[in-house]
Amino acid sequence: MALLPPDAARSAGYRELTARIRQAAQLDRDTAAAQPDRETAAAAELARVATDVRRSVVRMIDRARMGHIGGDLSVTDILVTCFYGVMSVDPENPHWPGRDRFVLSKGHCAAALYSTLAHCGFFDPAELDTFMAPLSALNGHPNKVKVPGVETNTGALGHGLPVATGCALAAKMDSASWRTFVVLGDGELQEGSNWEAAMAAAHHGLSSLTAVIDRNRLQQGARTEDTNALDSLPDKWRSFGWEVREVDGHDHLALLDALSGSSTGRPVAVIANTIKGKGVSFMEDRVEWHHKVPTAEQVETALAELAG
């Protein structure tokens, strides 16, 4: 079933808010040294949106009784910073050719993506209640055919970076200025397809491509380093010819900086150090919350903690 559009106020709200965040972020960058705690206007706005997104993720998974809550909470700040602080997209015109492309390669975190897209105004947030319900457009993994704002169907890990590389290559062929962003899980990097694409992107000098790695150090069943170790991850990306930036993946200002364009002519890998289950104390850094579903009581606690 087709998703309902949002009301006009939401789209206008998105435009106004992203403009405000970008303006503040610009000011922040110029005066960062003078601001001891970097508790700035932009960061506060982004934090507020991220809290909203996290709360709706918890409610969606509670309602569906399924989902990947740990990874959703881990990737939320990255999603929100991309959509509100960095990318050029038009929720009212999702296929606008000049848009920046966004690919959530770790597609199991669809709840966080849907919630972010709805918040931006790609569709009516009331639709989030249908997450994974029979015939809903909001499948357990994102479907571009049904959800505006989704660029390619993901869910099988290891597909996003090759597709994003293709997007960036097309932009280069057309001398277009739009950028491509792809968010990868760290466990996902065990798939060889990523490294095939990493080589190709560097080979073609795809400076408009930014890959963000949600480095929460957990995968489905264990820690990445106990399963098939990834470290030293920055060295790996560097040796594949990428410009590497390592940041705290929950620090919105640091993310804003890290997501700025390439300064070297090479594709950029942002290694975002994150905490799986971020924001809910009993889920943080615990492997079982990869896809465990909280009880009613745990939902209450989670929402209370996320209220701030």
Partner: protein
């Protein structure tokens, strides 16, 4: 409430894991190889018993199957345990070249096949596996219908000394296999005698075929129900006999209709004994959102759907 609803049903991953542990305790060549799938393949117990014989390659299915072929080369008997869609989709060429073509004794265990991952969508559905793998030479394809057949398949594969793919059902199914049923290549299991129409069913559709046959008997229609746990090589003699002795054949499977059971049966009857047929499965569309039970009904992979197909055959037969 339907007949099947009243019976106990089983997630076959438990029978799978118990049988694998029991085999491994008798034969130290047996190892399990997985892709960050210890939990989803129910291998926690195996890991506790044989920590050194569980190899987790991480999220890397091509590597998974290649590594298994290497282990087999050195005399081990690897049971590769991975979600069926990624095992068969991502590693298809490794299955073809490293396992089947190279005649490696690797047991490929496709976990949660069909639409067991319902709401997680088409990336997680494994409905193409039977078509893909039937196209690969030198690979036996086994589709257990219940815990009894799952255990038999795990045991049979250990001694097969050849490449095997078996589905490990997760969607809960009742027991359907009679105590004296055969389990071997080219051996169908006769579940109901009948002489009007034959229904041949595998996997989750077997219990639904039985329910359809029971309901049709009350209407005076005599349905033969055959089950072919070995999809490849299939029991051609039983298929030909059904084509000769009944007025037509309905096949039913939780897989795309393009190349699985329906295609195998159709190729057999067209060559030896043409008869009317209806092929029930997932038509060539990507499933909408929904849980497994919802999707099976959505695609008419139910007793009602089988009954309608049987009547259709009789109408045209």
């Amino acid at each position: 409430m339907t007949v099947t609803d009243q019976r106990a049903t089983f997630d076959c991953r438990q029978a799978f894991a118990e049988e694998l542990i029991s085999l491994a305790s008798q034969d130290e060549r047996i190892v399990a190889v997985c892709n960050d799938s210890v939990g989803s393949s129910n291998l926690v117990g195996f890991r506790e018993r044989f920590p050194d014989r569980l190899i987790n390659v991480g999220i890397a299915e091509q590597d998974l199957v290649g590594v298994a072929a290497g282990l087999a080369n050195a005399g081990k008997i690897p049971y590769v345990c991975a979600a069926a869609p990624f095992l068969t989709g991502r590693a298809l060429e490794q299955i073809k070249a490293d396992v089947a073509y190279s005649e490696a004794h690797v047991v490929l265990c496709g976990q949660s096949p069909g639409m067991a991952y319902g709401e997680l969508g088409p990336t997680h559905h494994s409905i193409e596996d039977l078509s893909w793998l039937r196209a690969v030479a030198n690979l036996d394809v086994i589709v257990p219908s219940d815990p009894v057949q799952t255990r038999a398949a795990v045991r049979w594969a250990a001694a097969a000394r050849r490449p095997v793919y078996l589905r490990v059902p997760r969607f809960k199914v009742p027991e359907v296999t009679p105590p004296d049923a055969p389990f071997a290549p080219r051996q169908a299991v006769l579940l109901r005698e009948g002489n009007d129409v034959t229904v041949i069913a595998i996997g989750s559709l077997t219990s639904r075929a039985l329910e359809a046959a029971d309901r049709l008997r009350d209407e005076g229609v005599s349905v033969r129900v055959l089950n072919t746990p070995f999809l490849d090589p299939i029991d051609e003699d039983a298929v030909i006999a059904a084509a000769r002795e009944t007025r037509g054949i309905v096949t039913a499977e939780e897989a795309t209709t393009s190349g699985g059971l329906g295609a195998a049966v159709a190729a057999t009857v067209v060559t030896h004994q043409p008869c009317p047929m209806r092929i029930l499965g997932v038509p060539r569309v990507f499933a909408p959102t929904g849980d497994t039970a919802f999707l099976l009904d959505h695609f008419r992979l139910s007793a009602d759907g089988i009954i309608a197909a049987v009547k259709d055959v009789l109408g045209h037969g």
